[in-house]
């Protein structure tokens, strides 16, 4: 895939940081507004898809390589398990919300919900990117 016209390219280049930022906003505000790790991760991967459609697969892979994607997916999963195990190490049961809770309505509130949302956000974004790249290889092979 060589990419599309200049209009698409310019638009996707301009929009890319904003879409990324919106995804991060959704992840970080998951415990305050509708959203959370899963929708936020999907929005972030939408930014990558936009780049991929505008500039072609190579440009997207240069920004976020398949190896990086699969490693960060594992790291996201490990953040989830580690946050769960935190409760175990602090003397409670698995998945206990054992860190300070903060005040309802503030950005810092509700304890482990924040690291869990971040972990799952990384995981979803990276995981869907891996699926995307994997499916792309099928079409690249066909072309050859």
């Amino acid at each position: 895939m060589a990419g599309m016209t200049i209009i698409v390219k310019t638009a996707s280049r301009l929009l890319f940081p904003f879409v990324l930022l919106f995804g991060i906003y959704i992840i970080l505000h998951g415990h305050l507004t509708p959203g959370g790790g899963f929708p936020g991760g999907v929005v972030i991967v939408a930014a990558i898809v936009m780049l991929l459609l505008g500039y072609g697969a190579d440009a997207a892979k240069a920004k976020f390589s398949p190896l990086q994607a699969s490693v960060s997916e594992n790291i996201g999963s490990l953040i989830l398990v580690a946050t769960g195990l935190l409760g175990l190490f602090l003397g409670f049961n698995f998945m206990k919300n054992a860190i300070p809770l903060g005040t309802t309505g503030n950005l810092y509130s509700s304890g482990i919900l924040i690291p869990l949302n971040i972990g799952v956000g990384i995981k979803v974004a990276a995981g869907l990117a891996v699926i995307l790249y994997a499916m792309l290889t099928a079409f690249e092979e066909e072309k050859k």
Binding site: H31, G36, T104, G127, A134
Partner: protein, 104 residues
């Protein structure tokens, strides 16, 4: 053709059964805290979530969004499973499209 007739018959029967059940045995749309049998709403799980989740302290995480509170706090283990299922699918797709000769 025969298969189509059979399938239509089967689907009509199942659909009729489902529609009959939901219109006769479930309470109408919009009556959430009530339940069809007995007074199960007295110790209904959902009402407790609505009351406790936004209050930081003994009963909840203090999250303004009650749904997120359920997703990650009360039923966080479920969501860990949900993240795992995504991991499984990613692993499966990557396995299907692995390179023919050497691994990644």
């Amino acid at each position: 053709m025969m298969r189509r007739v059979l399938a239509i018959g089967l689907v009509c029967a199942i659909g009729a059964l489902l529609v009959f059940t939901v219109s006769n045995y479930l309470l109408p749309f919009g009556t959430f805290p009530q339940r069809r049998f007995e007074n199960f709403e007295d110790n209904s799980v959902a009402q407790v979530y609505l009351e406790n989740a936004p209050i930081a302290g003994a009963g909840g995480a203090g999250s303004a969004n009650v749904v997120t509170s359920i997703v990650w706090d009360y039923r966080g283990y479920d969501t860990l499973g949900e993240a795992t299922i995504l991991f499984t699918a990613v692993c499966g797709v990557a396995m299907l499209f692995r390179a023919a000769k050497e691994e990644d």
